[in-house]
């Protein structure tokens, strides 16, 4: 078993009277691709923000393998800087002398070679997400946090990007946490899938990364059943 990179222990997060997270505990191991899946408002993004240290938990602890663990977030809205070229967008946070050369290499790795002097407004949705991924990869992160990065893409581009991100993460042995509401995406991309529901991590299963369509569908189905199952005290059945 790979060594733990991030350990969440009895994590709580409260916004006023809203209990966004309640007693969440799990561990992400080095080199692992973990997907957090669940319905909107379930607490997935809150978990990512806590792990990224963009917010602090109300109670509980997050333990990192190193105190200065390099974490990079790829957000759902690409958050690219429109006044910078793609090259500048990738290299804007780096400080060493080899930045430019490395930025070009990183752009090439995500398939954006030749687009160095292009502005983000000139790129398509898929290219923008590739650029956002390149920016995250530029710092050689020890933990890559993907916050529903493909939510705004069309089905075909989305599928291509799923394959692409999985390939990049595998090639670079990146420890990755993916937030998604798409069970198929979670099953297809992850080594491990965790269902977050009503602020709690309620279910965990092995993902189907690199496996056949039938296995992916089976994992997706099992995850979906948990997501749709009524919580204790809720009425069963769909109201649609």
């Amino acid at each position: 078993m790979a060594k733990p990179l991030v350990t969440l222990s009895h994590l709580y997060k409260q916004y006023g009277d809203n209990h966004a997270l309640q007693d969440v505990s799990f561990t992400i191991h080095q080199g692992e691709f973990v997907a957090l899946v669940g319905m909107s408002g379930g607490g997935k993004s809150t978990l990512l923000r806590l792990i990224a240290q963009l917010e602090q938990p109300t109670a509980g602890t997050i333990t990192y393998a190193e105190p200065n663990l390099v974490k990079r977030v790829m957000f759902q809205d690409d958050r690219l800087l429109p006044w910078m070229t793609t090259l500048a967008n990738v290299s804007f946070a780096a400080h060493d002398a080899k930045t430019q050369a490395r930025a070009k290499e990183t752009l090439a790795a995500v398939g954006l070679a030749g687009f160095e002097q292009t502005y983000p407004t000139e790129l398509s949705g898929g290219q923008k997400q590739r650029l956002a991924l390149a920016r995250a990869l530029m710092a050689a992160p020890q933990l890559l946090l993907l916050d529903e990065p493909l939510g705004a893409l069309d089905a075909l581009t989305r599928r291509n990007m799923q394959t692409f991100i999985t390939h990049i993460c595998d090639t670079n042995h990146l420890t990755t946490l993916l937030i998604t509401h798409d069970v198929d995406e979670a099953a297809r991309m992850a080594d491990r899938v965790i269902v977050v529901k009503n602020g709690r991590a309620v279910y965990e299963t092995v993902g189907a990364k690199g496996q056949d369509a039938e296995t992916i569908a089976r994992v997706g189905e099992s995850v979906l059943r948990v997501i749709l199952a009524p919580a204790p005290g809720e009425e069963g059945g769909s109201r649609d």
């Binding site: 977030v73 809205d77 958050r79 800087l81 910078m84 804007f92 946070a93 502005y119 000139e122 581009t157």
Partner: protein, 271 residues
């Protein structure tokens, strides 16, 4: 065949660009032609409204005598000095209040109170305190320019997308890097709108100040000519104001094109 098709397609495009460039000058040219015609055919009394050619001749005469260059220079000096001082003060205050909550609490309320005083209503006070010398006119321009630059800088800084700032923080930018790489470039379009507006205020303020209390400058030339019913010079001054205003606007536009070239890019690719 293909070549001739290209040529045929290229020809109208080139004509269109020329026509497109001339279009903004069409209405001014028509108005001047109409004005000249009206005076030449005695529809309008040339004693009340001299013909454009007479105004041009008056301009040449005043230029050759050295009076026009002297007055334009002094007006330009007052305008640019007031603009630089007021613009810098507005920018610094806008920046400080946009970035610091403490500074905002300390200054913003007072600035908002002062902003609502029409700055031209300060002319009597300024004349009493500073006389009719250069400091009076420059300080009026300074006050006039300060507020539009302040408001737009403050608004620009506070309107920067907080998601971009959060992204910068999560990517480990220092406070200075956050400012230079995200906050300032994000605020720049709004700041430049303030600069463009302030340039208009600069001329308006200077003209009024020079007309009321001065012994030099374009405004003085106009009010002096009015005393002698010298309509050629009065109209000449109005035309000079219009030209100076247009030149200022062109400079502001060029500044926008230079600093915001990324805004003209676009047309996302498909796929």
């Amino acid at each position: 065949m293909a070549q001739s098709a290209n040529t045929a397609a290229g020809q109208p495009r080139s004509s269109y660009i020329k026509w497109h460039q001339l279009l903004p000058w069409l209405i001014p040219a028509l108005l001047i032609a109409l004005w000249q015609l009206a005076v030449a055919t005695h529809w309008i009394d040339s004693g009340l409204l001299p013909a454009p050619l007479a105004v041009v001749q008056d301009g040449i005469k005043l230029w050759q005598s050295g009076e026009l260059p002297k007055n334009i220079s002094i007006s330009l000096f007052r305008a640019t000095t007031g603009f630089v001082i007021g613009g810098l003060a507005g920018f610094v205050l806008g920046l400080a209040n946009g970035l610091s909550h403490t500074s905002r609490l300390l200054f913003d309320s007072t600035i908002q109170m002062l902003r609502n005083i029409p700055h031209l209503s300060l002319i009597p006070l300024v004349i009493i305190l500073l006389g009719i010398g250069e400091p009076a006119k420059i300080s009026l321009v300074t006050i006039g320019v300060l507020f539009p630059v302040y408001i737009n800088t403050f608004h620009g800084i506070t309107s920067v997308d907080p998601n971009l700032i959060e992204m910068g923080q999560s990517y480990g930018l220092s406070k200075w890097q956050l400012f230079t790489k995200i906050i300032f470039p994000g605020a720049l379009p709004t700041i430049l709108v303030g600069v463009r507006y302030a340039l208009g205020v600069m001329w308006t303020t200077l003209i009024v100040a020079e007309t009321i209390s001065s012994n030099s400058g374009i405004g003085y030339m106009a009010s002096n000519a009015q005393e002698f019913m010298d309509m050629d010079t009065v109209l000449l001054c109005i035309v000079i104001y219009a030209l100076l205003g247009k030149v200022s606007d062109l400079i502001a536009k060029a500044l926008e094109d230079l600093c915001l070239d990324w805004k003209t890019k676009g047309g996302a690719a498909n796929g």
